[in-house]
Symmetry: C2
Subunit: 252 residues, 2 copies
DNA sequence: GGATGCATATTGTCCGGACAAATCGCCTGG
DNA sequence: CCAGGCGATTTGTCCGGACAATATGCATCC
Protein backbone atom coordinates (compact mmCIF):
# COMPACT_ATOMS: atom_id res chain seq x y z
CA UNK A 1 0.00 0.00 0.00
CA UNK A 2 2.92 2.35 0.43
CA UNK A 3 3.26 4.35 -2.71
CA UNK A 4 6.41 3.56 -4.59
CA UNK A 5 9.25 6.00 -4.58
CA UNK A 6 9.19 8.70 -7.23
CA UNK A 7 10.05 7.03 -10.47
CA UNK A 8 13.48 8.24 -11.40
CA UNK A 9 14.41 9.97 -14.58
CA UNK A 10 12.51 8.74 -17.56
CA UNK A 11 13.84 10.21 -20.74
CA UNK A 12 11.28 12.37 -22.42
CA UNK A 13 12.15 13.77 -25.81
CA UNK A 14 10.57 17.14 -26.42
CA UNK A 15 10.81 18.80 -29.80
CA UNK A 16 10.45 22.53 -29.59
CA UNK A 17 10.47 22.93 -33.35
CA UNK A 18 7.46 20.67 -33.75
CA UNK A 19 4.08 22.27 -34.26
CA UNK A 20 2.52 19.91 -31.73
CA UNK A 21 2.29 21.64 -28.35
CA UNK A 22 4.85 20.82 -25.70
CA UNK A 23 2.25 19.90 -23.10
CA UNK A 24 0.73 17.50 -25.58
CA UNK A 25 4.04 15.90 -26.41
CA UNK A 26 4.67 15.37 -22.72
CA UNK A 27 1.16 14.04 -22.09
CA UNK A 28 1.48 11.50 -24.88
CA UNK A 29 4.85 10.27 -23.69
CA UNK A 30 3.60 10.00 -20.13
CA UNK A 31 0.55 8.08 -21.34
CA UNK A 32 2.60 5.66 -23.34
CA UNK A 33 4.96 5.20 -20.40
CA UNK A 34 1.97 4.30 -18.24
CA UNK A 35 0.41 2.05 -20.84
CA UNK A 36 3.76 0.45 -21.45
CA UNK A 37 4.41 -0.21 -17.79
CA UNK A 38 7.44 2.04 -17.47
CA UNK A 39 5.44 3.98 -14.92
CA UNK A 40 4.10 1.42 -12.50
CA UNK A 41 0.59 1.81 -11.09
CA UNK A 42 0.72 3.52 -7.72
CA UNK A 43 4.11 5.06 -8.36
CA UNK A 44 4.59 8.74 -7.72
CA UNK A 45 5.39 11.00 -10.59
CA UNK A 46 7.76 13.29 -8.74
CA UNK A 47 6.93 16.85 -7.94
CA UNK A 48 6.00 19.25 -10.67
CA UNK A 49 8.61 21.89 -9.97
CA UNK A 50 11.50 19.47 -10.18
CA UNK A 51 10.00 17.74 -13.19
CA UNK A 52 9.58 21.03 -14.98
CA UNK A 53 13.17 21.96 -14.25
CA UNK A 54 14.44 18.61 -15.45
CA UNK A 55 12.56 18.89 -18.73
CA UNK A 56 13.35 22.53 -19.30
CA UNK A 57 9.67 23.43 -19.17
CA UNK A 58 7.70 25.78 -16.99
CA UNK A 59 5.45 24.46 -14.30
CA UNK A 60 2.18 25.50 -15.98
CA UNK A 61 3.12 23.52 -19.06
CA UNK A 62 3.88 20.43 -17.03
CA UNK A 63 0.66 20.89 -15.10
CA UNK A 64 -1.32 21.12 -18.32
CA UNK A 65 0.12 17.82 -19.47
CA UNK A 66 -0.59 16.13 -16.16
CA UNK A 67 -4.07 17.58 -15.97
CA UNK A 68 -5.01 16.11 -19.32
CA UNK A 69 -4.07 12.67 -18.06
CA UNK A 70 -5.96 13.25 -14.83
CA UNK A 71 -9.01 14.06 -16.93
CA UNK A 72 -8.51 10.80 -18.76
CA UNK A 73 -8.43 8.95 -15.46
CA UNK A 74 -4.83 7.79 -15.74
CA UNK A 75 -3.38 9.89 -12.94
CA UNK A 76 -4.54 11.11 -9.56
CA UNK A 77 -3.18 14.19 -7.84
CA UNK A 78 -3.35 14.72 -4.11
CA UNK A 79 -2.29 17.94 -2.54
CA UNK A 80 0.59 17.58 -0.18
CA UNK A 81 1.29 14.07 -1.44
CA UNK A 82 1.98 14.09 -5.14
CA UNK A 83 0.71 12.70 -8.39
CA UNK A 84 0.48 8.96 -8.79
CA UNK A 85 -0.47 6.52 -11.47
CA UNK A 86 -3.87 5.02 -10.88
CA UNK A 87 -3.71 1.24 -10.69
CA UNK A 88 -6.74 0.48 -12.68
CA UNK A 89 -7.35 -2.88 -14.28
CA UNK A 90 -9.07 -1.25 -17.18
CA UNK A 91 -7.80 1.25 -19.65
CA UNK A 92 -10.67 1.62 -22.10
CA UNK A 93 -11.61 5.22 -22.45
CA UNK A 94 -15.19 4.93 -23.70
CA UNK A 95 -16.72 7.69 -25.41
CA UNK A 96 -19.02 7.96 -28.29
CA UNK A 97 -18.61 4.52 -29.75
CA UNK A 98 -18.87 3.59 -33.35
CA UNK A 99 -20.14 0.07 -33.75
CA UNK A 100 -18.04 -0.48 -36.82
CA UNK A 101 -14.85 0.72 -35.18
CA UNK A 102 -15.59 -1.24 -32.03
CA UNK A 103 -16.01 -4.46 -33.94
CA UNK A 104 -12.98 -3.85 -36.07
CA UNK A 105 -10.87 -3.13 -33.01
CA UNK A 106 -12.08 -6.40 -31.53
CA UNK A 107 -10.96 -8.22 -34.63
CA UNK A 108 -14.48 -9.16 -35.59
CA UNK A 109 -14.16 -8.09 -39.22
CA UNK A 110 -17.58 -6.46 -39.56
CA UNK A 111 -19.55 -6.45 -42.78
CA UNK A 112 -22.47 -4.25 -43.74
CA UNK A 113 -25.38 -4.68 -46.12
CA UNK A 114 -27.23 -1.53 -47.04
CA UNK A 115 -30.94 -2.28 -47.27
CA UNK A 116 -32.09 1.21 -48.00
CA UNK A 117 -30.43 4.50 -48.84
CA UNK A 118 -32.69 7.27 -50.04
CA UNK A 119 -33.95 10.75 -49.38
CA UNK A 120 -37.52 11.28 -48.29
CA UNK A 121 -39.67 13.71 -46.30
CA UNK A 122 -39.23 13.57 -42.55
CA UNK A 123 -41.93 12.05 -40.41
CA UNK A 124 -43.02 13.94 -37.32
CA UNK A 125 -40.85 11.83 -35.04
CA UNK A 126 -37.73 12.15 -37.18
CA UNK A 127 -38.26 15.85 -37.77
CA UNK A 128 -38.53 16.45 -34.05
CA UNK A 129 -35.42 14.43 -33.34
CA UNK A 130 -33.39 16.24 -35.98
CA UNK A 131 -34.77 19.65 -35.17
CA UNK A 132 -36.16 20.15 -38.68
CA UNK A 133 -39.56 21.00 -40.02
CA UNK A 134 -41.87 18.08 -40.70
CA UNK A 135 -41.61 17.08 -44.33
CA UNK A 136 -38.04 18.34 -44.77
CA UNK A 137 -35.77 16.15 -46.84
CA UNK A 138 -33.82 13.66 -44.78
CA UNK A 139 -31.55 10.82 -45.75
CA UNK A 140 -32.86 7.48 -44.56
CA UNK A 141 -30.46 4.63 -44.11
CA UNK A 142 -31.18 1.04 -43.19
CA UNK A 143 -28.33 -1.36 -42.73
CA UNK A 144 -27.68 -4.85 -41.48
CA UNK A 145 -24.37 -5.44 -39.76
CA UNK A 146 -22.76 -8.87 -39.76
CA UNK A 147 -19.92 -10.52 -37.93
CA UNK A 148 -18.60 -13.89 -38.96
CA UNK A 149 -21.30 -14.07 -41.58
CA UNK A 150 -24.13 -13.79 -39.08
CA UNK A 151 -26.39 -10.78 -38.65
CA UNK A 152 -25.78 -8.91 -35.45
CA UNK A 153 -27.63 -5.64 -35.64
CA UNK A 154 -30.18 -3.70 -37.63
CA UNK A 155 -29.32 -0.04 -37.94
CA UNK A 156 -31.72 2.67 -39.02
CA UNK A 157 -30.34 6.20 -39.32
CA UNK A 158 -31.64 9.60 -40.34
CA UNK A 159 -29.49 12.55 -41.40
CA UNK A 160 -30.32 16.03 -42.63
CA UNK A 161 -30.24 15.83 -46.42
CA UNK A 162 -27.07 17.06 -48.07
CA UNK A 163 -24.92 16.82 -44.98
CA UNK A 164 -22.90 13.90 -46.26
CA UNK A 165 -22.87 12.17 -49.58
CA UNK A 166 -23.95 8.64 -48.69
CA UNK A 167 -22.37 6.38 -51.20
CA UNK A 168 -23.75 2.88 -50.77
CA UNK A 169 -20.54 1.15 -51.74
CA UNK A 170 -18.57 3.27 -49.32
CA UNK A 171 -21.10 2.61 -46.58
CA UNK A 172 -20.63 -1.10 -47.00
CA UNK A 173 -16.86 -0.77 -46.81
CA UNK A 174 -16.67 1.44 -43.74
CA UNK A 175 -18.83 2.96 -41.02
CA UNK A 176 -21.17 5.92 -41.07
CA UNK A 177 -19.24 7.87 -38.47
CA UNK A 178 -16.03 7.49 -40.40
CA UNK A 179 -17.73 8.91 -43.45
CA UNK A 180 -19.10 11.82 -41.49
CA UNK A 181 -15.68 12.59 -40.08
CA UNK A 182 -14.20 12.45 -43.56
CA UNK A 183 -16.84 14.97 -44.63
CA UNK A 184 -15.55 17.42 -42.06
CA UNK A 185 -18.19 16.82 -39.40
CA UNK A 186 -16.72 16.66 -35.94
CA UNK A 187 -18.96 14.84 -33.55
CA UNK A 188 -19.15 16.45 -30.17
CA UNK A 189 -21.76 14.74 -28.04
CA UNK A 190 -24.65 12.35 -28.25
CA UNK A 191 -27.70 11.50 -26.26
CA UNK A 192 -28.41 7.80 -26.00
CA UNK A 193 -31.15 5.63 -24.69
CA UNK A 194 -30.66 1.90 -24.26
CA UNK A 195 -33.54 -0.44 -23.69
CA UNK A 196 -34.70 -3.94 -24.51
CA UNK A 197 -37.71 -5.76 -25.88
CA UNK A 198 -38.71 -9.05 -27.37
CA UNK A 199 -38.39 -9.64 -31.09
CA UNK A 200 -41.40 -9.42 -33.35
CA UNK A 201 -41.76 -11.92 -36.16
CA UNK A 202 -40.26 -9.57 -38.77
CA UNK A 203 -37.38 -8.55 -36.54
CA UNK A 204 -36.64 -12.16 -35.71
CA UNK A 205 -36.57 -13.09 -39.36
CA UNK A 206 -34.32 -10.20 -40.30
CA UNK A 207 -31.81 -10.98 -37.56
CA UNK A 208 -31.95 -14.74 -37.76
CA UNK A 209 -33.45 -15.05 -34.30
CA UNK A 210 -36.61 -16.68 -33.02
CA UNK A 211 -39.73 -14.72 -32.18
CA UNK A 212 -39.63 -13.43 -28.62
CA UNK A 213 -35.85 -13.43 -28.40
CA UNK A 214 -34.37 -10.60 -26.33
CA UNK A 215 -33.19 -7.60 -28.35
CA UNK A 216 -31.17 -4.60 -27.23
CA UNK A 217 -32.45 -1.30 -28.56
CA UNK A 218 -30.50 1.90 -28.78
CA UNK A 219 -31.60 5.34 -29.88
CA UNK A 220 -29.04 8.01 -30.42
CA UNK A 221 -29.09 11.67 -31.30
CA UNK A 222 -25.66 13.00 -32.22
CA UNK A 223 -24.55 16.63 -32.18
CA UNK A 224 -21.63 18.36 -33.81
CA UNK A 225 -19.48 20.91 -32.07
CA UNK A 226 -21.91 23.76 -32.68
CA UNK A 227 -24.80 21.84 -31.18
CA UNK A 228 -26.52 21.04 -34.47
CA UNK A 229 -28.16 17.65 -34.71
CA UNK A 230 -26.31 15.70 -37.37
CA UNK A 231 -27.75 12.22 -36.92
CA UNK A 232 -30.61 10.35 -35.36
CA UNK A 233 -30.67 6.60 -35.28
CA UNK A 234 -32.51 3.60 -33.96
CA UNK A 235 -30.45 0.47 -33.62
CA UNK A 236 -31.49 -3.06 -32.72
CA UNK A 237 -28.95 -5.63 -31.55
CA UNK A 238 -29.24 -9.32 -30.94
CA UNK A 239 -28.77 -9.58 -27.19
CA UNK A 240 -27.37 -13.07 -27.63
CA UNK A 241 -24.43 -11.67 -29.57
CA UNK A 242 -23.85 -8.16 -28.34
CA UNK A 243 -23.64 -6.07 -25.19
CA UNK A 244 -22.64 -2.46 -24.65
CA UNK A 245 -19.38 -2.10 -22.80
CA UNK A 246 -17.99 1.18 -21.66
CA UNK A 247 -16.25 2.98 -18.89
CA UNK A 248 -17.61 6.05 -17.21
CA UNK A 249 -15.61 8.78 -15.54
CA UNK A 250 -17.05 10.71 -12.67
CA UNK A 251 -16.21 14.31 -12.93
CA UNK A 252 -15.74 15.68 -9.48
CA UNK B 1 -26.87 31.42 -38.50
CA UNK B 2 -24.94 34.59 -37.76
CA UNK B 3 -23.66 34.37 -34.24
CA UNK B 4 -25.27 36.92 -31.99
CA UNK B 5 -23.32 39.92 -30.90
CA UNK B 6 -21.22 39.57 -27.79
CA UNK B 7 -23.61 39.51 -24.90
CA UNK B 8 -23.13 42.73 -23.06
CA UNK B 9 -22.16 43.09 -19.46
CA UNK B 10 -23.67 40.46 -17.27
CA UNK B 11 -23.05 41.18 -13.66
CA UNK B 12 -20.92 38.52 -12.06
CA UNK B 13 -20.37 38.75 -8.35
CA UNK B 14 -16.99 37.43 -7.31
CA UNK B 15 -16.09 37.08 -3.67
CA UNK B 16 -12.37 37.17 -3.08
CA UNK B 17 -12.74 36.39 0.60
CA UNK B 18 -14.57 33.15 -0.16
CA UNK B 19 -12.58 29.93 0.01
CA UNK B 20 -14.14 28.75 -3.23
CA UNK B 21 -11.76 29.47 -6.11
CA UNK B 22 -12.42 32.44 -8.32
CA UNK B 23 -12.41 30.43 -11.53
CA UNK B 24 -14.99 28.12 -10.02
CA UNK B 25 -17.21 30.99 -8.91
CA UNK B 26 -17.09 32.37 -12.43
CA UNK B 27 -17.74 28.99 -14.01
CA UNK B 28 -20.79 28.40 -11.87
CA UNK B 29 -22.25 31.79 -12.61
CA UNK B 30 -21.62 31.35 -16.30
CA UNK B 31 -23.26 27.95 -16.21
CA UNK B 32 -26.31 29.22 -14.42
CA UNK B 33 -26.53 32.11 -16.86
CA UNK B 34 -26.53 29.63 -19.71
CA UNK B 35 -29.00 27.30 -18.03
CA UNK B 36 -31.15 30.25 -17.14
CA UNK B 37 -31.18 31.63 -20.66
CA UNK B 38 -29.41 34.88 -19.86
CA UNK B 39 -26.72 33.71 -22.27
CA UNK B 40 -28.53 32.69 -25.41
CA UNK B 41 -27.36 29.66 -27.39
CA UNK B 42 -25.04 30.72 -30.17
CA UNK B 43 -24.18 34.02 -28.56
CA UNK B 44 -20.56 35.01 -28.25
CA UNK B 45 -19.06 35.36 -24.83
CA UNK B 46 -16.83 38.31 -25.60
CA UNK B 47 -13.10 38.08 -25.74
CA UNK B 48 -11.17 36.79 -22.77
CA UNK B 49 -8.88 39.76 -22.32
CA UNK B 50 -11.69 42.26 -22.09
CA UNK B 51 -13.74 39.94 -19.91
CA UNK B 52 -10.84 39.46 -17.54
CA UNK B 53 -10.33 43.19 -17.30
CA UNK B 54 -13.99 43.82 -16.66
CA UNK B 55 -14.08 41.27 -13.86
CA UNK B 56 -10.79 42.29 -12.34
CA UNK B 57 -9.33 38.85 -13.00
CA UNK B 58 -6.33 37.68 -14.95
CA UNK B 59 -6.75 35.98 -18.26
CA UNK B 60 -5.57 32.54 -17.07
CA UNK B 61 -8.25 32.55 -14.38
CA UNK B 62 -10.96 33.42 -16.87
CA UNK B 63 -9.64 30.78 -19.24
CA UNK B 64 -9.75 28.16 -16.52
CA UNK B 65 -13.40 28.94 -15.87
CA UNK B 66 -14.27 28.84 -19.55
CA UNK B 67 -12.32 25.66 -20.09
CA UNK B 68 -14.26 23.84 -17.42
CA UNK B 69 -17.48 24.68 -19.22
CA UNK B 70 -16.00 23.64 -22.54
CA UNK B 71 -15.19 20.29 -20.95
CA UNK B 72 -18.78 20.04 -19.85
CA UNK B 73 -19.92 20.66 -23.40
CA UNK B 74 -21.66 23.96 -22.69
CA UNK B 75 -19.27 26.21 -24.60
CA UNK B 76 -17.25 25.98 -27.79
CA UNK B 77 -14.15 28.01 -28.48
CA UNK B 78 -12.87 28.79 -31.95
CA UNK B 79 -9.62 30.53 -32.52
CA UNK B 80 -10.00 33.83 -34.29
CA UNK B 81 -13.74 33.78 -33.69
CA UNK B 82 -14.51 33.62 -30.03
CA UNK B 83 -16.29 31.50 -27.46
CA UNK B 84 -19.95 30.79 -27.98
CA UNK B 85 -22.70 29.01 -26.15
CA UNK B 86 -23.54 25.71 -27.75
CA UNK B 87 -27.20 25.55 -28.75
CA UNK B 88 -27.90 22.06 -27.67
CA UNK B 89 -31.39 20.85 -26.89
CA UNK B 90 -30.06 18.76 -24.08
CA UNK B 91 -28.15 19.91 -21.09
CA UNK B 92 -27.76 16.92 -18.85
CA UNK B 93 -24.21 15.63 -19.12
CA UNK B 94 -25.11 12.44 -17.31
CA UNK B 95 -22.32 10.39 -15.94
CA UNK B 96 -21.99 7.58 -13.47
CA UNK B 97 -25.62 7.26 -12.57
CA UNK B 98 -27.09 6.17 -9.34
CA UNK B 99 -30.40 4.50 -9.95
CA UNK B 100 -31.81 5.83 -6.73
CA UNK B 101 -30.78 9.41 -7.46
CA UNK B 102 -32.01 9.15 -11.03
CA UNK B 103 -35.43 8.00 -9.96
CA UNK B 104 -35.68 10.56 -7.22
CA UNK B 105 -34.71 13.34 -9.62
CA UNK B 106 -37.44 12.14 -11.96
CA UNK B 107 -39.95 12.38 -9.14
CA UNK B 108 -40.53 8.64 -9.08
CA UNK B 109 -40.23 8.31 -5.30
CA UNK B 110 -38.21 5.08 -5.27
CA UNK B 111 -38.51 2.50 -2.55
CA UNK B 112 -36.15 -0.32 -1.71
CA UNK B 113 -36.58 -3.69 -0.06
CA UNK B 114 -33.41 -5.37 1.14
CA UNK B 115 -33.67 -9.10 0.51
CA UNK B 116 -30.24 -10.03 1.74
CA UNK B 117 -27.44 -8.25 3.55
CA UNK B 118 -24.65 -10.41 4.88
CA UNK B 119 -20.95 -11.13 4.75
CA UNK B 120 -19.73 -14.32 3.16
CA UNK B 121 -16.67 -15.75 1.36
CA UNK B 122 -16.20 -14.55 -2.18
CA UNK B 123 -16.88 -16.88 -5.07
CA UNK B 124 -14.30 -17.09 -7.83
CA UNK B 125 -16.25 -14.70 -10.07
CA UNK B 126 -16.78 -12.11 -7.36
CA UNK B 127 -13.22 -12.36 -6.11
CA UNK B 128 -11.91 -11.79 -9.60
CA UNK B 129 -14.19 -8.81 -10.13
CA UNK B 130 -13.22 -7.21 -6.83
CA UNK B 131 -9.54 -8.05 -7.15
CA UNK B 132 -9.53 -10.07 -3.93
CA UNK B 133 -8.44 -13.59 -3.08
CA UNK B 134 -11.08 -16.27 -3.48
CA UNK B 135 -12.78 -16.86 -0.16
CA UNK B 136 -12.15 -13.36 1.19
CA UNK B 137 -14.98 -11.82 3.13
CA UNK B 138 -17.29 -9.75 0.98
CA UNK B 139 -20.55 -8.04 1.75
CA UNK B 140 -23.40 -9.39 -0.36
CA UNK B 141 -26.41 -7.25 -0.97
CA UNK B 142 -29.63 -8.13 -2.74
CA UNK B 143 -32.29 -5.51 -3.17
CA UNK B 144 -35.55 -4.97 -4.99
CA UNK B 145 -36.27 -1.45 -6.15
CA UNK B 146 -39.83 -0.23 -6.57
CA UNK B 147 -41.50 2.75 -8.14
CA UNK B 148 -45.16 3.48 -7.63
CA UNK B 149 -45.44 0.27 -5.63
CA UNK B 150 -44.29 -1.91 -8.51
CA UNK B 151 -40.96 -3.73 -8.70
CA UNK B 152 -38.63 -2.25 -11.27
CA UNK B 153 -35.21 -3.77 -10.73
CA UNK B 154 -33.36 -6.46 -8.88
CA UNK B 155 -29.97 -5.32 -7.66
CA UNK B 156 -27.20 -7.61 -6.48
CA UNK B 157 -24.03 -5.97 -5.20
CA UNK B 158 -20.72 -7.11 -3.73
CA UNK B 159 -18.36 -4.93 -1.70
CA UNK B 160 -15.09 -5.64 0.07
CA UNK B 161 -16.00 -6.39 3.68
CA UNK B 162 -15.57 -3.52 6.11
CA UNK B 163 -15.52 -0.81 3.48
CA UNK B 164 -18.89 0.58 4.45
CA UNK B 165 -21.20 -0.27 7.30
CA UNK B 166 -24.29 -1.49 5.49
CA UNK B 167 -27.20 -0.72 7.72
CA UNK B 168 -30.32 -2.33 6.29
CA UNK B 169 -32.66 0.41 7.47
CA UNK B 170 -30.43 3.06 5.96
CA UNK B 171 -30.19 1.12 2.71
CA UNK B 172 -33.95 1.11 2.42
CA UNK B 173 -34.11 4.84 3.03
CA UNK B 174 -31.44 5.89 0.59
CA UNK B 175 -29.14 4.53 -2.11
CA UNK B 176 -25.93 2.55 -1.87
CA UNK B 177 -23.82 5.17 -3.61
CA UNK B 178 -25.01 7.84 -1.25
CA UNK B 179 -23.97 5.69 1.69
CA UNK B 180 -20.57 5.08 0.16
CA UNK B 181 -20.05 8.78 -0.39
CA UNK B 182 -21.05 9.46 3.19
CA UNK B 183 -18.43 6.92 4.26
CA UNK B 184 -15.74 8.98 2.55
CA UNK B 185 -15.47 6.91 -0.60
CA UNK B 186 -15.18 9.06 -3.71
CA UNK B 187 -16.17 7.20 -6.81
CA UNK B 188 -13.95 7.87 -9.72
CA UNK B 189 -14.84 5.61 -12.61
CA UNK B 190 -16.80 2.52 -13.45
CA UNK B 191 -16.81 -0.13 -16.10
CA UNK B 192 -20.24 -1.13 -17.27
CA UNK B 193 -21.73 -3.74 -19.50
CA UNK B 194 -25.32 -3.52 -20.62
CA UNK B 195 -27.09 -6.45 -22.21
CA UNK B 196 -30.48 -8.08 -22.39
CA UNK B 197 -32.08 -11.49 -22.02
CA UNK B 198 -35.41 -13.13 -21.46
CA UNK B 199 -36.70 -13.63 -17.96
CA UNK B 200 -36.47 -17.02 -16.30
CA UNK B 201 -39.36 -18.23 -14.20
CA UNK B 202 -37.79 -17.09 -10.92
CA UNK B 203 -36.81 -13.70 -12.31
CA UNK B 204 -40.26 -13.18 -13.73
CA UNK B 205 -41.86 -14.00 -10.41
CA UNK B 206 -39.55 -11.72 -8.49
CA UNK B 207 -40.16 -8.77 -10.82
CA UNK B 208 -43.85 -9.33 -11.43
CA UNK B 209 -43.28 -10.09 -15.10
CA UNK B 210 -44.16 -13.07 -17.26
CA UNK B 211 -41.65 -15.71 -18.24
CA UNK B 212 -39.74 -14.73 -21.35
CA UNK B 213 -40.25 -11.01 -20.86
CA UNK B 214 -37.34 -8.84 -21.97
CA UNK B 215 -34.96 -7.82 -19.19
CA UNK B 216 -32.14 -5.30 -19.25
CA UNK B 217 -29.00 -6.49 -17.51
CA UNK B 218 -26.20 -4.33 -16.24
CA UNK B 219 -22.93 -5.30 -14.67
CA UNK B 220 -20.80 -2.64 -13.10
CA UNK B 221 -17.40 -2.51 -11.49
CA UNK B 222 -16.76 0.77 -9.70
CA UNK B 223 -13.38 2.22 -8.75
CA UNK B 224 -12.43 4.90 -6.29
CA UNK B 225 -9.94 7.62 -6.99
CA UNK B 226 -6.93 5.41 -6.26
CA UNK B 227 -8.10 2.74 -8.66
CA UNK B 228 -9.25 0.29 -5.99
CA UNK B 229 -12.36 -1.71 -6.79
CA UNK B 230 -15.02 -0.67 -4.31
CA UNK B 231 -18.10 -2.32 -5.75
CA UNK B 232 -19.21 -4.98 -8.17
CA UNK B 233 -22.83 -5.40 -9.05
CA UNK B 234 -25.25 -7.23 -11.30
CA UNK B 235 -28.51 -5.45 -11.90
CA UNK B 236 -31.62 -6.63 -13.71
CA UNK B 237 -34.26 -4.18 -14.91
CA UNK B 238 -37.70 -4.69 -16.35
CA UNK B 239 -37.29 -3.46 -19.90
CA UNK B 240 -40.96 -2.57 -19.97
CA UNK B 241 -40.40 0.02 -17.25
CA UNK B 242 -36.84 1.22 -17.58
CA UNK B 243 -34.22 2.31 -20.11
CA UNK B 244 -30.76 3.77 -19.67
CA UNK B 245 -30.49 7.36 -20.75
CA UNK B 246 -27.26 9.25 -20.88
CA UNK B 247 -25.26 11.74 -22.82
CA UNK B 248 -21.77 11.10 -24.08
CA UNK B 249 -19.13 13.68 -24.73
CA UNK B 250 -16.50 13.10 -27.35
CA UNK B 251 -13.19 14.27 -26.17
CA UNK B 252 -11.16 15.53 -29.01
C1' DG C 1 3.33 5.86 25.48
C1' DG C 2 0.19 8.85 23.39
C1' DA C 3 -1.43 13.27 21.87
C1' DT C 4 -0.27 17.73 20.27
C1' DG C 5 2.07 20.95 17.52
C1' DC C 6 5.43 22.18 13.99
C1' DA C 7 8.28 21.89 9.87
C1' DT C 8 8.34 20.24 5.29
C1' DA C 9 6.80 18.77 0.89
C1' DT C 10 3.54 19.08 -2.71
C1' DT C 11 -0.27 20.51 -5.30
C1' DG C 12 -3.91 24.43 -5.90
C1' DT C 13 -4.79 29.05 -7.20
C1' DC C 14 -3.73 33.38 -9.25
C1' DC C 15 -1.16 36.97 -11.51
C1' DG C 16 1.04 39.50 -15.64
C1' DG C 17 3.05 39.22 -19.82
C1' DA C 18 4.69 37.60 -24.54
C1' DC C 19 4.31 35.62 -28.93
C1' DA C 20 2.10 32.24 -32.30
C1' DA C 21 -1.73 30.59 -35.02
C1' DA C 22 -6.17 30.79 -37.00
C1' DT C 23 -10.18 33.16 -38.69
C1' DC C 24 -12.70 36.81 -40.75
C1' DG C 25 -13.60 41.06 -43.09
C1' DC C 26 -11.93 44.64 -45.95
C1' DC C 27 -9.38 46.56 -49.49
C1' DT C 28 -6.98 46.41 -53.58
C1' DG C 29 -5.93 44.92 -58.11
C1' DG C 30 -7.00 42.42 -62.09
C1' DC D 1 -17.24 41.15 -60.63
C1' DC D 2 -13.98 38.13 -58.70
C1' DA D 3 -9.49 36.81 -56.53
C1' DG D 4 -5.89 37.61 -53.62
C1' DG D 5 -3.52 39.82 -50.00
C1' DC D 6 -3.40 42.30 -45.75
C1' DG D 7 -4.57 43.53 -41.20
C1' DA D 8 -7.42 43.13 -37.09
C1' DT D 9 -9.40 40.13 -33.75
C1' DT D 10 -9.37 36.25 -30.85
C1' DT D 11 -7.93 32.06 -28.88
C1' DG D 12 -3.69 28.80 -28.16
C1' DT D 13 0.64 28.14 -26.01
C1' DC D 14 4.27 29.17 -22.86
C1' DC D 15 6.91 31.50 -19.38
C1' DG D 16 8.21 32.95 -14.45
C1' DG D 17 6.79 33.92 -10.14
C1' DA D 18 4.08 34.29 -5.66
C1' DC D 19 1.32 32.72 -2.00
C1' DA D 20 -2.29 29.50 0.00
C1' DA D 21 -4.11 25.00 1.36
C1' DT D 22 -3.34 20.36 2.60
C1' DA D 23 -1.04 16.01 3.90
C1' DT D 24 2.76 13.73 6.07
C1' DG D 25 6.24 12.69 9.31
C1' DC D 26 8.85 14.08 13.25
C1' DA D 27 9.81 16.10 17.49
C1' DT D 28 8.16 17.62 21.64
C1' DC D 29 5.42 17.71 25.69
C1' DC D 30 2.32 15.79 29.05
Amino acid sequence: MTPSAPSASLDFALDRTSPVPLYYQLAQQLESAIEHGALAPGSLLGNEIELAGRLGLSRPTVRQAIQSLVDKGLLVRRRGVGTQVVHSQVKRPLELSSLYDDLEAAGQSPATRVLRNEVQPASAEVAAALGLAEGSDVAVLERLRFTHGEPMAFLCNYLPAGLVHLDTAKLEATGLYRMMRAAGITLHSARQSIGARCATVEEAERLDETEGAALLTMQRTAYDSTGRVVEYGTHIYRASRYAFEFQLLVRS
